[in-house]
Amino acid sequence: MTALGFCDVRVSYNGVEAVQGFNDLLHSGEWLCLIGPNGAGKSSVLRAAAGLVPYTGSIAIDQTEIPATSARWRAQHIAYVPQSPLIPHDMNVHDYVLLGRNPYVGHFSSETKQDREVIHGVLERLDLIDFSQRRLGTLSGGELQRLVIARALAQEAPVLLLDEPTSALDIGHQQQALELVDKLRREQGLTVVSAMHDLTLAGMYADRLVLMHQGARVAEGSAKEVLQPNILSEFYGVSARVHHEDDGTVVVIPQRTSLR
Amino acid sequence: MNKLTKAGLAGLFLSLTAVMAGCGGSSTSTTDTAAVTADVYPVTVGDLTLTAQPIHIISLSPSATEMLYAIGAGSQVVAADEYSNFPAEAVALGTKLSGFEPNIEAISGYSPDLVIISYDPGSLVEQLKTLNIPVFVAGAAMSLENVYEQIDQLGVLTGHSQTAKDVSKTLQTSIEDAVASVKFANPPLSYYYELDNTYYSVTSNTFIGQIFNLFGMRNIADNVEAGNDYPQLSAEVIVSSNPDFIFLADTKCCAQDATTVAARDGWSGLKAVTANHVVLLDDDISSRWGPRVLDLITSIRDAVAAANS
């Protein structure tokens, strides 16, 4: 069953088309990673799904098209983790994750006991329960990353969108974050769409890759199919070797073009 | 305090004067003050009725203060505002109420039975009425008739109506004599009246302006700015109109005199400067409308007479 479907989605900024007719169907539990050079339109696809930019075409969840007017409905079905989340320094961890319940709380009401139980569960699962009263300004980068994911999980949405989830993290925390998302996806059947710069990591975790260039899809398939030197050279302008590990991992290694 | 606002009071709130005892002028006055000789209470002026002679009077208007002392009601005054600096007995009261930012509690602390103001900065009248304190609004005079009338009204209210009538009659006669004693020049003598040293002036529509009209003088500020009776003139306008007289009403506030005027660039060649027709006026006297308006008129008369000779 299609968990998430894009049908001829186009996004324009000031008359310039950033995404040209994006089509895709994801089944439940699938992890799709969008790759491509800067300005390819990866973020725009995610932002369109999150309702942050206007688009033409349709995006549907479980075959129900997202209503343009209900931000609540969208937030209950799609959780968006932005590239640079705005972290209010004087908010505490509990309140931040509580924001994830916003789609379920009445405009002028407060959270219910059930909402608080969801928060508690999420904090436990992500090992943040001891931080509950800590202020965000005191957390490290890795802890903040877990935190933003925690908030997204609190939305209890079947679709998770991740915009460059690892750009600001060191190698250890990158692995931590991606392992976490993968684990949760398997446990809960989340459908994940991410946009990433690190091609090796993208290939390692995603089920399928889509390479975008100037708003159009130019290549798609498994890591082995998409991460090929000639393709990378054509669209990224990079000179790279591709190495295949025994366990199937595809490693992209940029090559020096100048003499040492 | 800025000169221009003090003089500006002279042009304010015609309505308040109108509310009290008919419009300014010697025409139909609803209070026929001639009928009251010995002061019998209750008395009524406009819509204010006093049932007994007031003996705790508060004056928040320097002009009214001067009038009260002139008509013999000085002993009934218990407090005055900070600008009531004449006569010396008023200063000796030692009170410094504010007419512009009145503190209603402080006013009521004197248990007044009559409060005289010249303008209401913001529900002062309403608050005084709430406390049942009688208030009389002696608004800024628009003409000499207003001045005589206010003196008479205060006389009626304070129980000195006969003295007041004498004072206003004498004042009127003195003024008429002063005016009659000089010949009107032809063509009319021109004058520039200076409110402050940034060249704010008055037109002949104002109280001050009308006094100069008595002497048939021409105001260079007339028609400079339509609709504005307190225009700020530019130095060029003043110099190019080359007035016969310069009257300085900023001698106290802004330390101006004949020397400082002559020192201004381009002013040393003016007729008024070379012929020594720069007249110094007392800031206070020229911004009030009390009995001392006679001093103002005398100064003008003397200046004009000297010019004629």
Partner: protein, 342 residues
């Protein structure tokens, strides 16, 4: 949550004390300790001999008490309005006058002062508060139309800039009018500095409905203001209609602020100091900041009004001067704290 309840109770108690103290201190009237006794005496079923004469009681009840009540109303409205503006614009330096309320009200007042010559103050409706109120609302309306026409659908910076532009325009028109009507400069200046000295029970009745409505709406939106703290984009992705929330909050805050400005002039600093003080004391969550701003703002202005009527006795010190006197050092303190905290 218990901590919050304690804070509210404490703030409420402080306000109560402030109001009692406010009615006890003044340049005239009965001895201070007799006043609460007389208040008690006026309650049903209680008889206390306070020794306060009828005339003295009039001073307390007809002059001082409406002033204290109005101070509480104005203080609370300006504070909650400031807190709300800071919430929707995510900018700690924003105050309730930002979008043109101050300049618009000032212009309205100036027009009345300049052109009221010949008109009596005994009109059925006093034109002065009405003009100030309308001026404030019109200015904000213009700001909103201009600010949302050119900006992106969710940009708050554009709105603030539009507010700056409208403020400059209104101020320059005001200056032009004053230049041609210099005799009213003193009155306008006095109005701008703000005053509670002319407060009457009529003023209280006039503003109460607007303030109650406005404060009610803002209280209802306090949870949503917390959601806005993560930025327009994320708040939107979390299911909130950011533009609508901003519009409603701005409208409500402006309505209430315009009403109090109409009767008390422009009292500055309250809308900035109080919400920040609340944050320092009780944390930055709007669920707490909004209600506490209401209570503490009221208490603050009631206290600030006391030196206003006593300091330069028998003259009044404009209350805007008193609040600025507290405001300036407070800003410095705030700056130091923020730079140290990094």
């Amino acid at each position: 949550m218990n901590r919050n309840r304690n804070s509210f109770a404490l703030a409420g108690a402080l306000l109560f004390v402030a109001m009692i103290v406010g009615t006890m201190i003044g340049p005239a009237g009965p001895t201070w300790w007799r006043i609460p006794l007389e208040f008690a005496n006026r309650l049903p079923f209680i008889h206390v001999n306070s020794g306060v004469s009828k005339a003295d009681w009039n001073i307390v009840w007809l002059i001082r008490t409406p002033r204290v009540v109005l101070a509480a109303i104005v203080g609370s409205m300006l504070s909650v309005s400031g807190a709300s503006y800071q919430g929707v614009f995510r900018n700690p330096l924003v105050d309730p006058y930002l979008l043109g309320v101050a300049a618009g009200a000032g212009l309205g007042a100036t027009l009345v002062f300049a052109f009221q010559r010949g008109a009596t103050r005994n009109w059925i409706i006093d034109p002065l508060p009405l003009a100030a109120f309308i001026g404030a609302l019109v200015a904000v309306l213009v700001t909103y139309v201009v600010g949302t026409a050119f900006g992106t659908t969710r940009s708050s910076t554009t709105l603030i800039l539009a507010g700056v532009a409208v403020t400059s325009l209104a101020t320059s028109i005001q200056a032009f009018i004053l230049q041609r009507n210099t005799d009213v400069v003193r009155q306008v200046y006095s109005w701008i500095l703000g005053r509670l000295s002319s407060a009457t029970w009529g003023d209280v009745r006039l503003v109460l409905p607007y303030v109650v409505l406005s404060t009610g709406v803002l209280l209802m939106h306090r949870r949503l203001l917390d959601v806005l703290r993560v930025g327009d984009d994320e708040a939107s992705a979390l299911g909130t209609n950011v533009r609508r929330v901003r519009l409603i909050v701005v409208l409500a805050a402006t309505l209430g602020t315009s009403a109090v400005v109409a009767v008390s002039g422009l009292i500055g600093f309250v809308g900035i100091i109080v919400p920040h003080a609340v944050r320092l004391l009780a944390g930055a969550s709007y669920r707490v900041v909004i209600p506490l701003s209401i209570l503490l703002g009221a208490a603050f202005l009631v206290f600030a009004d006391i030196p206003s009527r006593v300091l330069a006795n028998p003259a009044e010190t404009p209350i805007g001067v008193v609040t600025a006197f507290f405001g300036a050092p407070f800003f410095l303190f705030l700056l130091r704290k923020r730079s140290n905290a990094r």
